[in-house]
């Protein structure tokens, strides 16, 4: 996917990012870069600041200090529309009560591309229908968004972001509350889009198998970055997540020609944490 020799300029670059609410510091000196085409996973325990970090990246929160740049430009110097044309976001929030159809929700992806009085053209409709087909929901097209299942809703939101035509797709825990089958399906769908992806994950095994690179944050600080093989270690799992676990190679590693770490957790934390270690 990436050329091994030439180092490409990063698509998204975060430097010395700090963000706080009142006197509480949420994010501290975060710095990383994402190269075009990478699939990057963001990991961290609850309350570590994953969502806060992503919010700073999709312009919902303005960082206190530090800079986020997209393709070499500070994202706060771009107009909201311009940024939305290049970066799309899939969140947990879903509309309710107002019977928008699946088609309507997906077509909202056109919003940043359309001037005020322009109508939806035939070509636009084609793009919308294609995106719906790509996520496999063509037969639900006219159905109301509310009546879809959790997995279908998330896929519909991905279709919306396909219509948005982004270079970078940001996803904030898109797979929580989903059955394992849909978790895998959704992530493989995101991977198949051939755009750069930054997603936060709950399931460490899923992250390890899907991502080219992982970022781990703990209490608002970036504590580890690298390939899954470098990042997913028994020491990291105990330091950051406070669990005892064994890391081995996933059986599919050889077939896929890359090392996929597999985590096996140990149990028995009630009787003192030492017991958990075999």
């Amino acid at each position: 996917m990436q050329s091994p020799v030439v180092t490409q300029p990063p698509l998204l670059k975060v430097t010395e990012l700090c963000w706080s609410v009142g006197n509480t510091t949420i994010l501290q000196n975060i710095a990383f870069a994402i190269k075009p085409g990478q699939f990057v996973g963001l990991l961290g325990p609850n309350g570590a600041g994953k969502s806060s970090l992503l919010r700073c990246l999709y312009r919902y929160s303005k960082p206190g200090s530090g800079e986020v740049s997209f393709a070499g430009q500070n994202i706060w110097q771009l107009s909201a529309d311009e940024y939305a044309k290049q970066v799309s976001v899939v969140l947990q929030e879903t509309p309710s009560q107002f019977n928008l159809s699946l088609y309507d929700v997906v077509s909202l992806g056109l919003t940043p591309h359309k001037s005020l009085f322009s109508s939806t053209t035939k070509a636009d409709k084609q793009i919308i229908l294609q995106a719906i087909e790509q996520v496999g929901l063509s037969h639900h097209c006219k159905q109301s968004f509310d009546s879809l299942s959790g997995g279908e809703k998330q896929r519909a939101l991905i279709a919306r972001s396909i219509v948005q035509g982004p270079k970078l797709l940001i996803m904030d825990e898109p797979t929580s509350h989903l059955d394992i089958k849909y978790q895998i399906q959704l992530m493989e769908l995101a991977k198949s889009l051939n755009v750069t992806v930054l997603a936060s994950f709950h399931d460490l095994n899923l992250a390890a198998s899907m991502c080219d690179e992982l970022l781990v944050i703990k209490q608002g600080k970036l504590v580890a970055t690298g390939t899954p093989e470098q990042v997913i270690t028994e020491k990291m799992l105990s330091d950051v997540f406070g669990v005892c676990a064994e890391v081995s190679a996933h059986p599919q590693s050889e077939q896929l020609k890359k090392v996929i770490p597999r985590i096996t957790y140990f149990y028995g934390y009630q009787g003192g944490s030492a017991n958990a270690k075999k």
């Binding site: 919010r55 999709y58 312009r59 919902y60 107009s79 909201a80 529309d81 311009e82 940024y83 939305a84 044309k85 970066v87 799309s88 976001v89 969140l91 929030e93 879903t94 509309p95 309710s96 009560q97 107002f98 019977n99 928008l100 159809s101 088609y103 309507d104 929700v105 077509s107 909202l108 992806g109 056109l110 919003t111 940043p112 359309k114 005020l116 009085f117 109508s119 097209c141 006219k142 109301s144 948005q164 940001i170």
Partner: protein, 331 residues
């Protein structure tokens, strides 16, 4: 899918014209459809009937239609930007502001009739709207909650002032104020019709041009931001649009409850508001509904007019109760 929607809009439009036509033939003076037809094409046989139809019923029916569409659109806008199905054009205290303006005006000047009353109502509701925009504009997070709570608080505040002033003023003022709480189209005339027409048409046009942004607000504030929408400013703009519509209508025909709340919900049963035709249907349905309510108000009692607000509130409450009943049976 799209073609069906446009067909539905055309059918509704046709139904709207027919409703206005039929409405013109109802009233205290006896007239037939054929009289209406003749008056409309300028060949009326009876100049008396022709004058009634052109000078009294026509502006009145048109104002009813405008009021219905305006309130439905204002309700739709507010329900969408607050993501609250119970939002209503009067929820934010605009009609209490109007009543307060009228009562203040009457207490200070002693005048209790004429166009200056409408002007006082307009000033009162604009004042409420500015206060609300000021409060909502200062809120950085949780703007929706601030808007809703501040609106309800303002509404109670102005009602309290109104009651206080009424308590010390003469009984005649109380009858006059009833007009602003119950609504009526009796004051409709050609000379003043341009104002609501202009405000409602332009606000609706602006709303239609922002329809994608408006619907994107339903996805939630964060998602709307990621679609490139300046959420806080956009919500204020929409609040101003719907308040302007409501303020003009309150000044012209008083407070007419339930229409702004109910019509968007009824239309949503059939068409999604995600399409331009869904928005047009909301405006048309509101207009048609109000034309018929006005007809009812004129014919239910002989030689007497029922206040519009009484009929819409009665129909509205029955509608909501039956909705609750059927929803319960469904689940």
């Amino acid at each position: 899918m799209q073609k069906n929607n446009y067909a539905a809009v055309i059918v509704t439009l046709f139904f709207g014209f027919t409703s206005i036509f039929i409405a013109l033939s109802f009233g205290a003076a006896p007239s037939k459809f054929i009289d209406v037809y003749h008056s409309l094409i300028g060949q009326g046989h009876d100049p008396f009937i022709e004058r009634i139809i052109w000078q009294l019923r026509m502006p009145r029916t048109l104002l009813a239609f405008l009021a219905g569409s305006g309130l439905a659109i204002a309700g739709l806008i507010l329900q969408t930007v607050t993501r609250n199905p119970l939002a209503d054009p009067y929820l934010f205290g605009i009609s209490s502001g109007a009543s307060f303006g009228v009562v203040c005006f009457m207490t200070i000047t002693g005048i209790s009739a004429g166009i200056s009353m409408s002007a006082a109502a307009f000033v009162g509701s604009l004042f409420t709207m500015l206060l609300l925009v000021f409060i909502a504009g200062r809120a950085s997070r949780g703007q929706v909650e601030t808007m809703l709570l501040a609106g309800v608080a303002l509404s109670f505040l102005f009602s309290a002032f109104t009651s206080l002033l009424l308590y010390f003023s003469d009984p005649q003022a109380i009858t006059a104020i009833l007009f602003w709480t119950l609504g009526s189209f009796a004051r409709a005339q050609w000379a003043t019709l341009w104002l609501p027409a202009l405000v409602i048409l332009s606000c609706t046009a602006i709303m239609m041009s922002f329809r994608r942004q408006l619907n994107a607000m339903l996805l939630g504030d964060e998602s709307a931001v990621t679609l490139g929408i300046p959420v806080q400013r956009f919500r204020l703009l929409m609040l101003i649009l719907s308040s302007l519509i409501t303020a003009v209508l309150v000044a012209m025909c008083g407070g007419i409850g339930f229409v702004g709340l109910m019509i968007p919900h009824i239309v949503r049963f059939f068409v999604s508001q995600g399409t331009p035709s869904g928005l047009m249907m909301t405006a048309l349905a509101g207009g048609i509904f109000m034309v018929w309510v006005d007809v009812l108000s004129r014919i239910l009692l002989t030689n007497q007019e029922l206040p519009i607000g009484v009929i819409t509130s009665a129909i509205g409450s029955i509608f909501f109760l039956s909705l609750l009943y059927f929803r319960k049976r469904e689940s």
